[in-house]
């Protein structure tokens, strides 16, 4: 019997070695494999190259991984944000390397790795600083720049549901980088809200077929869902809206 489930996030990430290239899914809070990132921090692998759309926000998740000095280089499209102070500090101190890639080229380069494409000509970035030194070519009257695949040793992604074969479905815009990163890594680790029985995911609706997934770990339902239904009550980062109220209640009690 094929069973890709592993019992804990610790076991899921336990063999990520120092120096590995690790893709991390998510765009904002959506699709961010929070529990896997925390496990990677606890695991402590160093000298990592991270591929993500951003370079961490606030002091948790990817930012905490950076703060823990585990990351040598980051490949991303949008490092600088209002709350990217951890990255900003490391970058200005020369302690982290940055490869800046336009978001669509980032996605297409990851997709190319998964689909066995050796390189491709993209119109994005032509004539800009980010195409400097890259091969350019005019095809049918349009200018293109040659871009190469981005592969990884591991991908850490977050999906809504999996079965034991590793078939995945996502939720809304939390899909983002998950499906392509799953295809581009030697070992893909998916955290999911729940593992359902084989056959419970309709074959027409599978977004990531299990062939792209090596390990599945159930981490429980997101706070804004109950029995698979959206119930709200959180902010955009997924923190309870009534948290303060609760604290105040406790203070009052």
């Amino acid at each position: 019997m094929i069973d890709k489930t592993v019992p804990s996030v610790e076991q899921a990430v336990g063999d990520i070695p120092d120096g590995a290239t690790v893709m991390i899914g998510g765009f904002g809070r959506a699709g961010q494999p929070v529990e896997l990132i925390d496990a990677l921090i606890a695991h402590g692998a160093k000298d990592l190259t991270i591929v993500n759309n951003n370079a961490g926000n606030g002091d948790t998740g990817l930012a905490a991984l950076l703060a823990n000095k585990q990351v040598r280089k980051i490949v991303c499209s949008f490092p600088r944000q209002s709350d990217s102070w951890v990255f900003d500090g490391l970058y200005r101190a020369g302690e982290i390397e940055l490869e800046l890639v336009p978001q669509g080229n980032l996605a297409e380069r990851i997709r190319a790795a998964g689909a066995g494409i050796g390189a491709f000509f993209t119109p994005t970035g032509v004539g800009t600083q980010l195409a400097e030194g890259k091969e350019e070519r005019e095809i049918d009257g349009r200018r293109y720049v040659l871009e190469y695949p981005i592969r990884a040793d591991f991908a850490l992604i977050s999906a809504l549901r999996a079965d034991r074969w590793g078939n995945l479905v996502y939720r809304e815009t939390a899909r983002n980088f998950g499906p392509i990163m799953a295809s581009a890594a030697t070992t893909t680790i998916a955290q999911v809200d729940e593992v359902v029985p084989l056959g419970a995911i309709e074959p027409e609706t599978v977004v990531t077929p299990g062939i792209f997934v090596d390990r599945v770990v159930a981490v429980g339902q997101r706070l804004w869902l109950r029995d698979g239904q959206f119930v709200g009550g959180v902010d955009i980062e997924g923190r309870p809206l009534d948290a303060n109220t609760d604290e105040e209640k406790e203070d009052a009690a």
Partner: protein, 213 residues
Amino acid sequence: MSTRISRDDLAKRIAADIPEGAYVNLGIGAPTLVANFLPDDLEIILHTENGLLGMGPAPEPGLIDPDLINAGKQPVTALAGAAYFHHADSFGMMRGGHLDVCVLGAFQVSQDGDLANWSTGAPGAIPAVGGAMDLAIGAKDVYVMTDLLTKQGESKLVESCTYPLTGVGCVSRVYTDHAIFDVTPDGFAVREAFGDNTIESLAELTGLTLVGR
């Protein structure tokens, strides 16, 4: 001082130029205002590059869904008829020329339609590009929404950009607080001048030779 229309009026003006059935991406920042002025009785389909077509307005505060956000990472909703897809498919949609209109902000637009909107090129600044370069080439028509002048009074319409480029020859029209300009083979053409602005006054403000309409 010459007439300047408000941000909201400019957003309204852009919204009026978007036809029913158009597939539209509104860039982060001021361009998102355009959504507020799309007529309720017309169906215009909004794309957000993080994987959604058929984006709807912001949810009620208690119903924020962290899984359902726009490219600016703000909470949104999905309309009946919406579709989700992954990042490679989403950017393929843009790069493949399937969107009708992108509306973007700008630091500078050159008279050849070059766009600079991702970096001031200031030394020591941490670069970040996001989807800007994909959006710049990602629609049949790329509209820029911007003030005509910087806070220092310099024209954002220029002969050639001095800021780092986002895209080459990609802008089709520039909506500013003073006037609307089309990018033509002969340079900027004044499509519509607001209030007391004239081709002559705009030429003086921009320092460019402008084409009439």
